[in-house]
């Protein structure tokens, strides 16, 4: 699945982005299937806004975003749900787990949507990230670090061609981050999926094909 950005300009940041030289805003960009893209975004440049545009949560922008045949400015709600369920997965900066569900229920509510990943794999991945023992704990009782790891596993228990990530390791220590990176790399490779990671500082978490400054 190819991702195209045609001169995207967020309306609330319209004046601000003209003041500096963004390599993403108001640019013509195409990301090919399987690419690994890093977007470095200093604070206040619209990193989360971009992720929300790509995931179809916001539409207050000029320009066009295409996920292959899906045109985000024309997409209807059913098509959007189809895109999210089976092509584009996301790890939000604010995790967005269901606080009233347990860890395992949070995973299951996503896994059961497509039933493409076995519960064995899901359990194994929780174990890899060290949160399997929290399976029956309510998400509201987990620490930020644990929530972030659960959110990572949740993003992986669906078929995806692109995984978009917004500061996905911000609450993780080095060891946990390395385990998370290894798992994401493994599952993305298995899916032949592209990665798009947005973060504040430059990093080499993955072998990026492109690095862009927002």
């Amino acid at each position: 699945m190819r991702l195209s950005l045609e001169h995207i300009v967020p309306i609330p940041l319209k004046d601000k982005i003209n003041e500096y030289n963004s390599r993403v805003w108001n640019q013509q960009l195409t990301f090919n299937s399987g690419e690994r893209v890093f977007i470095q975004a200093p604070s206040g440049t619209g990193k989360t806004t971009l992720i929300h545009f790509l995931y179809g949560l916001r539409k207050d922008y000029e320009g066009k975003i295409h996920w292959s045949a899906f045109k985000m400015h024309e997409i209807n709600r059913e098509q959007l749900s189809q895109l999210r369920a089976s092509s584009v997965s996301v790890i939000f900066q604010d995790m967005r787990l269901f606080p009233e569900l347990t860890t395992w229920e949070n995973i299951e509510v996503k896994r059961r949507l497509t039933n493409t990943v076995s519960e064995y794999d899901a359990e194994k991945w929780l174990d890899k990230l060290g949160v399997k023992h929290k399976a029956d704990s309510p998400a509201s009782k987990l620490s930020y670090g644990e929530q972030q790891r659960v959110a990572i596993v949740r993003a992986l228990v669906q078929p995806f061609e692109w995984l978009i990530m917004d500061e996905p390791f911000s609450h993780l220590d080095y060891a946990n981050r390395q385990r998370a990176i290894a798992l994401i790399d493994e599952v993305a490779t298995m899916n032949r999926a592209g990665l798009l990671l947005a973060d504040l500082d430059d990093n080499d978490y993955f072998t990026y094909s492109r690095k862009l400054l927002l």
Binding site: R77, E78, S81, L83, R84, F98, E105, Q158
Partner: protein
């Protein structure tokens, strides 16, 4: 770890905030509204059945009326003033609610009846005939052809009552049952002077509808042709088949033309007014209550969705389709509606059975199951309810991001 059922997870997220008290309140309001609506339709429908004379309720006199011209001081002496002219008959045929008009033709020749077993009991009498389609019942042997010596007679039930409760008691005579009367054979002599004909008359049935002594039309025609060939056969009374005798326009028509009829039969007019008022009052109340019930139910759904807004929004972000979530809500709420409507239907069915049983006790035949207007009301209210509820659910879910 055990795989979990998707629907249970979604239920936990979306219906966790459901208030059972509100749900019960809305379902009770809905049940009361629907039941009242069905009852209002049933009142109207059962009364219509009685009035329109279907289901063997003709003997209530709701369908057939006998009318005559009022005998006034002015018309008393005039010969033929009480007879109906062909023009008047045609006007009556076109009167409101009138479906059919039949002539009650009386004998234009002398009739003399005697009862040999009663040792000399004899009387002059009259006979009348109506077309067979106006008879409430046609007993066995109800026919006469030239050459037959037996003449079947249908007697008005009123006459027998007059005899049994008036004449017999005052004259110290034995009261007679219908079967006894039917067992007796009268000698009937028709004609005058030298030329007479002798017949044997036998009462074969009793009529609640027509206050007269009825013989087959062919017999009256034979007698009138034989003994009074030059007398015009204009009817003095007409029998009308009336769709709804309670129609005010029909009553006004009779009054305007000075026609008399059994006023008891027109009393339906007042009763119909009362029943109409009761049915419309109940109907309005039912619609109001059902509207409130539906509104409460929809508000309950909207409140449930609003309370689960965060979960709903996140489910949509996870990739759950709005249609799936709306259908999920429908699957949870529609059975409640169906059960409520079913409960109302059961009440309606039981009530109709009770009405039919009460009707039987009063000699009124009514069906044991609610008729199509009741089912139609149920179908329309169910359709409207489902439409409102599904619209509310889809609208509430589509409002979510």
């Amino acid at each position: 770890m055990k795989p979990l059922k998707q629907s249970r997870l979604v239920q936990k997220l979306l219906l966790r905030h459901r208030s059972n008290n509100r749900l019960w309140a809305s379902l009770i309001a809905l049940f009361a509204g629907t039941t009242l609506l069905l009852i209002a339709v049933m009142i109207w429908w059962n009364f219509s059945l009685i009035l329109s004379g279907t289901h063997d309720n003709d003997s209530l006199g709701s369908t057939f009326l006998t009318i005559g011209k009022q005998v006034t001081d002015q018309s008393m002496g005039k010969k033929g003033a009480s007879l109906f002219t062909p023009k008047e008959i045609s006007t009556i045929e076109n009167a409101p609610q009138v479906q059919d008009v039949g002539m009650l033709v009386s004998n234009r020749f002398p009739v003399y009846a005697s009862l040999s077993v009663a040792n000399g009991f004899s009387t002059d009498m009259f006979l009348e005939a109506v077309p067979d389609r106006f008879m409430d019942k046609q007993p066995n042997g109800w026919s006469w052809q030239e050459g037959n010596t037996q003449v079947p007679i249908i007697l008005s039930s009123d006459f027998l009552n007059l005899y049994n409760y008036g004449f017999a008691l005052s004259q110290n005579l034995p009261q007679l049952s219908q079967t006894t009367i039917q067992a007796l054979a009268f000698d009937i002599t028709i004609g005058r002077g030298l030329y007479t004909e002798q017949y044997t008359g036998r009462v074969v049935g009793f009529s609640d509808r027509i206050s007269s002594v009825l013989v087959p039309q062919s017999f009256i025609e034979h007698g009138n042709k034989t003994f009074a060939p030059n007398v015009p056969v204009a009817p003095s009374r007409l029998i009308l088949q009336v769709k709804d005798p309670s129609d005010k326009r029909f009553a006004e028509f009779l009054q305007m033309n000075n026609y008399t009829t059994n006023t008891e039969q027109l009393r339906w007019n007042k009763m119909r007014g009362v029943v109409d008022a009761v049915a419309s009052g109940t109907g309005v109340l039912a619609l109001l209550l059902m509207g409130i019930g539906t509104l409460v139910f929809i508000l309950f759904i909207e409140l449930t969705i609003a309370k689960a807004e965060a979960s709903l929004s996140l489910l949509l972000q996870m990739g759950y389709s709005p249609r799936y979530l709306a259908m999920f809500m429908m699957r949870r709420f529609v059975p409640l509606i169906v059960i409520t409507l079913l409960a109302s239907t059961i009440v309606a069915v039981i009530l109709q059975e009770v009405i039919a049983a009460k009707g039987t006790a009063l000699n009124v035949t009514l069906p044991h199951l609610p008729g199509w207007p009741v089912w139609a009301a149920l179908a329309v209210s169910a359709g409207a309810l489902l439409a409102f509820v599904s619209r509310a659910i889809f609208k509430a879910i589509n409002q979510e991001q």
